[in-house]
Symmetry: C2
Subunit: 436 residues, 2 copies
């Protein structure tokens, strides 16, 4: 029914005539049964209700030609336009232009963790609204444009609201974002400042989501692109750019190990998809790599299933400071289990105290102030080294997907001045800090 | 006396033997009397107490050769190493690597402001700690390394503390940052999270500064590089990179007009210095450009002097929401007046309400959430167009030097949901927002 609804709401002549230009995107295909559908604002298979994803006609030409083409592109995700569901001239359209964030060689952190290989932080706090969500939203914007949508929408508790608000403002869309009515003021400000409609829903995040599902099926929602619902197949592809950038920034080499946070699990599965594409295109050597998933103990359905050897993921009620990862029933959980097992990786979790410690460890060693999700990946990396699952002699990339400025509350109770003194040299000397 | 003290504290054999390698930096020269000094951690002329600045042996070779060398450099300020007081191999050393932030073509904002030429936002919120301070601190770090300092320090009320803490952590320095003891918790967390010493001083910002001056002159401060005091001549040069990036991102062209915020005024004077260097080197055409300074009405000593036709700047007691610009006695004020007058620009100010409006205008049109200082430059740009001082038919660049996440309080009282409703379609319909 969701499919029917979504198709009815495709408010676009282009979609109706099949003239949608999303570059190399050839069709949508069902991840479960493989059935293919024309490109459109649909997200579930009409036959089996499985999730749809974008299928590509990948570019021809030699790897060297493609690398040259990429290198000559802009310093953002559009350099990979030949591998994304976007038109070839995407870089000329107004968009938030995220990506090409720093891959930081984390030598200080490596020393602390006993890593003798090379350790890198892929730091997505450098994106325009300081989280990886800018990547996925930027792709959803181009899909919305292609399908003739005029309003961008989402349900959100934080990062996504800001990313949608900012991208809609730049790209010339109306936006209407739905949030639980009792969010912290800081998050509300971040969601509202871009000037779109912001609607507080009297209820929790589940209520907000349920309301959005109703709205998609109603005439009120006509012309609306919900980035993470009816545009989800396109939106999700934005995470592939993390794989592309990591490999390009390593000199077109695959890392040996990647540690990725798990919320819905989509990011992890799309990074794997991106790596597979690079191998297929010959842009990187075809060699083994291991993918590790990272969760907070207070919301660890995938980690729990992995450790128990299960193929299915049993939902949990989240209770963790890592709110951006607090999805108790992750849609891509089973795919994450597949990938972790296929590549020889693992899924691990850390508790809230370990998350805070890891945020501070990363800040103290590399000067990167991560969101709680970054504390989860760094904390899990430490744990995986300690329990022997991650090889410290290899090349490892750890994702930081957000910015510490957005989750100040996590570290505030334990982060403050080392001393408070009167403004005098005597007082400073007495404080015992002046060890040159 | 300040000079004597600073020289005594140069805890470095390199400095003593004159073997300091800071690339093309040849000497320090007095901006008032022109006297030259060997490179070292000094900041005031021994003869006339004027401020010292770095004098260069600029690179030889054709403009095309230099452009190629720059283009082949890293995607950060070190691509301009041949024009900065840093060693040639600077990019191989651990540093925070700021810069090469986005120059956003602001077509939506241009339409709102009636700009028919091209309008660009140089968005320094993309730096590692989300302000332009990362640029100046990164240069100070390399000077500190060259002079053998082991501790980085500063007095700060916000952005600078974070930039110093982060850079020190990455670069392997101890850090000790001094702040007024009663700062907002958010700012304290940002200053403390990088794990250096953070000392709250019982007093206001002036008391903190006075204390730091004492510390520089005391054996307790031996081996300490205060980025904005005894390393200030190097530190300040970091702002030149804004000029280089703007011109390179415009295709090696000078903008016609630049709007720059004024705190101490150093940033504006160094951007002018950078533009002059590019002209001298033949990297851009030698043509006129106008530099405009932007202040908050509640701290507008330079704007007041400009409008009154004065050459000197009378100190003011700051009272504005633009706290990162709230320097009542700006050291470079007279130089700013010179530059604004010489280039045919102006200095203008906007009040707090106009600052908030401008923050929201920029967010709503371009999806960029600026710090209050960005509200000042955008607000002043609007005012300069209205009063005919800025030509809307030309190419204009407006600086945003910081991130709205750091000054949420400025917009919070007037930024919130457009509606709060029950989770039902009827309630949504009744709210009157559903205009497709």
């Amino acid at each position: 029914m969701a499919v029917q609804t979504a198709v009815q709401n495709a408010d676009s002549d282009a979609a109706d005539t099949g003239a949608v230009d999303l570059g190399p995107a050839a069709a949508l295909s069902c991840r479960e049964c493989g059935e293919r559908f024309d490109l459109g604002p649909i997200f579930a298979c009409a036959s089996c209700f499985g999730p749809l994803e974008v299928a590509y006609d990948l570019p021809s030409g030699t790897p060297e030609e493609l690398k040259k083409r990429i290198a000559e592109g802009p310093d953002n995700i559009w350099r990979y336009a030949p591998l994304l569901p976007v038109p070839a001239d995407v870089a000329t359209k107004p968009n938030i232009n995220p990506g090409f964030t720093k891959l930081v060689k984390a030598d200080n952190l490596a020393r602390e963790l006993g890593v003798t290989g090379s350790l890198h932080i892929k730091d997505d706090s450098g994106n325009p609204t300081h989280s990886f969500k800018d990547r996925v939203v930027a792709i959803a914007v181009e899909a919305a444009r292609a399908f003739g949508f005029t309003t961008l929408s989402c349900s959100s508790t934080g990062n996504l609201a800001g990313a949608v608000g900012a991208a809609a403002a730049r790209a010339g869309f109306r936006s209407c974002v739905f949030i639980p009515h009792d969010l912290e003021q800081g998050k509300v400000v971040m969601a509202a400042v871009y000037g779109g409609e912001l609607v507080g829903i009297e209820g929790n995040y589940d209520d907000v989501n349920r309301f959005c599902s109703e709205l998609i099926g109603d005439p009120l929602g006509e012309g609306w692109g919900f980035v993470n619902v009816n545009l989800r197949p396109y939106y999700g592809e934005g995470s592939k750019t993390l794989a592309y950038e990591i490999c390009e920034q390593l000199g077109w080499r695959l890392p040996d190990q990647i540690v990725i946070p798990i919320a819905s699990g989509s990011q992890l599965t799309k990074i794997d998809k991106g790596l597979q594409e690079l191998i297929k295109l010959g842009l990187v050597e075809d060699k083994p790599y291991k993918i590790f998933g990272a969760q907070a103990e207070g919301c660890s359905p995938v980690s729990t299933a992995f450790k128990a050897g299960h193929d299915v993921v049993r939902p949990q009620k989240p209770h963790t400071i890592a709110k951006s990862l607090a999805i108790g029933n992750p849609a891509d959980g089973p795919y994450v289990l597949d990938i972790a097992r296929r590549t020889g990786g693992a899924v691990e979790d850390v508790n809230d105290e370990q998350i805070v410690d890891a945020i501070k460890l990363l800040a103290r060693t590399e000067g990167i102030f991560a969101e709680t999700a970054g504390g989860v990946t760094v904390g899990v990396t430490k744990k995986l080294i300690e329990n022997g699952l991650l090889d410290p002699t290899l090349t490892t990339v750890v994702l930081n997907t957000g910015d510490g400025l957005k989750t100040l509350d996590a570290v505030a109770p334990t982060t403050g001045p080392t001393a408070t003194i009167r403004p005098s040299l005597d007082a400073f000397r007495d404080a015992g800090l002046a060890t040159n």
